[in-house]
Subunit: 524 residues, 2 copies
């Protein structure tokens, strides 16, 4: 994998810690000889966002979202507390249905921070969500794993740990992710413990905890407390939950329960409407945009009712289907247009945005995989997203994480981070002296300007093949997937675990053992 | 290949023809029972362009381009006429070097039309270059051809004809291209005749003639006159020449000679600086942008000195190199940023823009091919280009045209054309009634709104695989390249030649025979 070859220094975001216990925790963490984080944890966007829709169109979408919230409403099923909170806040509650007067949901969202710091256990790995910042996270959720050697199979905890390690080793991902894959060799009701442990043990980057049941969210938060300190979480975000809306227009009690658990602990939730147009919403993009906006606002409103100021991300997973077969499709023009538009809606709300991803329906890391992934990711990045799920490894509509695809996506992430730096038009870049040295018809390769800049001018990919046909043929005619196979193996071979205070490690293991002993295994 | 499934009617642009001979020619052409053009010949852009740079940065680049034109100058080698024309126009000419006072080149460019009609021999295939229009053209120039069955080999006239036919059959390409591949089985000094004939015989879409020698340009124009009528070309553009600048800062007499031949005949030239950063210019993008701008303006200025108002396209081929190996690289972040910027510079000049393309260094139609191609093409389309060379088939840095890559690129062109239509936020799209019909938690698949819109809502790709893993495995585990192999073969099998008036066909064949007899074969 390419070394970071551009000039942006990996600036660490330092949290503003006050004295007392927090200061002691910080000091303890700072003493740890934590492994070097190779990623630029802080990625700052220096290019403008693409503005697809004009003011009229945006107002029309916002008005339609308000209409959905007011006339149709959102259901919070099986969650009496949520219904009570909404009622107290002035919403109209009928059964599980919550209806919001125009402007109410938006007003409730307004107490969420525009951006926030999310801390890694190495402060140098901390990230900012929101503003001009970008956070890239690997795939989330696949039950299967694939690689060129072993083919497609159910994922295991070993695969999970491998992807935590690969993410840690990547210079381009600054978030360790959540359920990188489902370790199906572990019981359903206990695997979250091993996943959270792996993030904390094998990486220092910020990570996500479990959301599959409120008590698993609590376990995840408890483990974070063991590492960061009990009280530290009160005013520092160190863990995150991904709340997928049960679209259309529903939050079930699992999702609202996990949302409340994280918000209550002042930890971050990402509220992601999950909509395949035609199934969980109408087939036309304008409707889907308004619906996604309404669904996101309702969930974010709940987080703020649970705890005003709790850090949230406005999420989005809105894609298309093949309407002849019902199969989900990714990186499509309709989905990409919606990405541009949802980003505009989110910016007007003033919240951190999740969208984009290296998404594909392809079963293998082929041309389709990269065509769909790159189109989807270019749209997300140009749209101005702050947070990208599935930035590496996603295949088969999220059913599979691929080792080769992971390496291929990483390389493209590196390219996009270079693109985010934009162009600086200054004397050094304009190179007047080079034209005085090499005139018309002359080669610029030997000029002083070229020699001074050639190492840093361009992103350098080690995965892309630019050899001559003859060299390439002599080297075995390897396509990108084959080269990526070598790449991830080398990354794993080179991986070095960051140190972890043995006392903390023991506390984590002890917690896991106790929780596992307290519950019978569940396998579905 | 997917049928055009979106609603934009393939509107034919009708030329405003006056009476006399032109009218008679038009009538003769209109009488021909020309084959149906399946492409929407007129593709109108309904999304905004991405504006990367701010006013200050753009002014700085423009000032630097003027500095290059004024202080360094451009050489027109071996072309006394060009030097005389520039001198008469007020430039400072020293040997072959032409230096332009600030504003002179820009002023000379100002007589070129902002947009123009380019006619196909079927009026329904005519295109507009400039404004809100987009023209997509296949690969140009590869000496090699490849497909999954036969592998990589030198291209022949049979391959050339195949790609003309595939382009004609494509609903997404509205320009037949020029040297789709080099038919190396024909003599160097005669193959242009067969290429022009193939465009005129097997397609009705607008095409490019030869530029490899001024007399070959003249032959190409003469053949167009046989089809469109001798005088018709005086005020109608029906053929085009691609003028690659001999960057850095040089036009040789072959390029300036071909440029003058087309401009003199009032036919279009595309003036394309051809710059690999670090070789034909400095290694930093700001310098390359200013240089490309200066080179393009100088060539366009010459076209206008030859014939005021001659139709031109402001071209651009500006990419990067792997600076450790010297190999050209494509779809890179630096190249894509430059695409955004050059489009802004061109818009300020007010001319039709050529940039973008499905470009790649990959030898095969793999993940790398699509990663690089899609990134490059997304950048070009979002930048606001009017004309894309290499929109289909390009491999190996332009050394090879691939049959499978061609089909894969076509499909992505279809997606981009859908993206260009943008989002219309209206009642039909907002689908209020669908929410009344299907509430929270209910499926939208059966709503009246979905049934009314599902056939036209989304671009439908036949090449993308969205089957389940099990179906896909049962069907042979084909990747995109393998599916594309079936696709182009089916397209060729289904191809039907458009009719051509036998008298015109005979005139073309007679012209070719006479020209071939008049010259001894040259093979290099």
């Amino acid at each position: 994998m390419a070394e970071p070859n551009f000039q942006e220094a990996p600036t660490a975001v330092r949290s503003r810690r006050s004295g007392g216990r927090s200061a002691r925790v910080a000091a303890r963490r700072a003493r740890l000889p934590l492994g070097g984080v190779v990623a630029p944890a802080v990625i700052t966007r220096k290019i403008p966002s693409y503005e697809l829709l004009d003011e009229d169109a945006l107002q029309r979408l916002e008005a339609h979202a308000e209409w959905i919230l007011r006339e149709i409403g959102i259901e919070f099923r099986g969650d009496a507390e949520a219904l009570r909170l909404f009622k107290e806040a002035g919403a109209t509650v009928t059964g599980a249905r919550v209806r919001f007067d125009t402007g109410l949901a938006r007003a409730l969202c307004s107490t969420a921070p525009r951006s926030f710091l999310m801390e890694g256990r190495d402060p140098a790995a901390s990230i900012t969500l929101g503003g001009d910042h970008l956070v890239l996270m690997p795939a989330y959720g696949p039950p299967f794993v694939t690689d060129l050697d072993g083919g497609r199979r159910y994922a295991t905890i070993e695969d999970f740990c491998n992807f935590v390690k690969l993410t840690y080793a990547s210079p381009w991902l600054n978030h360790s992710g959540g359920t990188l894959c489902e370790p199906v060799d572990l019981p359903v009701n206990k695997r979250h413990l091993d996943m959270v442990y792996a993030h904390l043990r094998y990486s220092t980057k910020p990570f996500m905890g479990s959301v599959t049941a409120p008590e698993r969210a609590e376990d995840s938060i408890a483990m974070a407390r063991l590492v960061f300190g009990e009280a530290y979480l009160e005013d520092h975000c160190v863990i995150q939950g991904n709340i997928n809306v049960n679209s259309p227009l529903v939050y079930d009690d699992v999702m609202s329960g996990a949302l409340k658990a994280y918000a209550r602990a002042n930890q971050s939730v990402v509220v992601s409407p999950f909509i395949l147009g035609g199934a969980m919403g109408p087939v036309t993009q304008p409707a889907l945009l308004a619906q996604a906006h309404a669904e996101a606002m309702a969930g974010i409103a709940l987080s703020q009712l649970v705890r005003k100021g709790a850090p949230v991300v406005y999420g989005n997973f809105l894609t298309t289907m093949n309407l002849k077969t019902g199969a989900p499709t990714f990186g499509t023009p309709e989905a990409n247009l919606s990405t541009f538009a949802i980003a505009q809606l989110c910016r007007r709300l003033g919240l951190p945005l999740r969208c984009g991803g290296h998404l594909t329906a392809s079963k293998v890391a082929d041309g389709q995989a990269m065509q769909e992934s790159v189109a989807s990711m270019m749209a997300g990045i140009l749209a101005g997203t702050n947070f990208v799920f599935h930035a590496a490894g996603w295949l088969e509509g999220g059913l599979t994480i691929g080792y080769e695809k992971f390496a291929m996506d990483l390389d493209h992430c590196g390219m996009l981070l270079r693109m985010l730096r934009g162009l600086t038009i200054d004397d050094a870049g304009l190179a007047a002296e080079a034209y005085r040295e090499a005139g018309p018809g002359e080669a610029f390769l030997g000029t002083a300007h070229t020699l001074a800049h050639f190492e840093t001018a361009n992103y350098l990919s080690d995965l892309t093949d630019t050899d001559s046909y003859e060299q390439w043929a002599e080297n075995g005619r390897h396509d990108l997937e084959r080269r990526a196979n070598r790449c991830w193996k080398q990354m794993l071979a080179d991986y070095q675990a960051p140190p972890l205070d043995p006392a903390i490690d023991e506390a984590l293991r002890d917690f896991m053992a106790r929780r596992k002993a307290a519950l019978p295994d569940q396998w579905h």
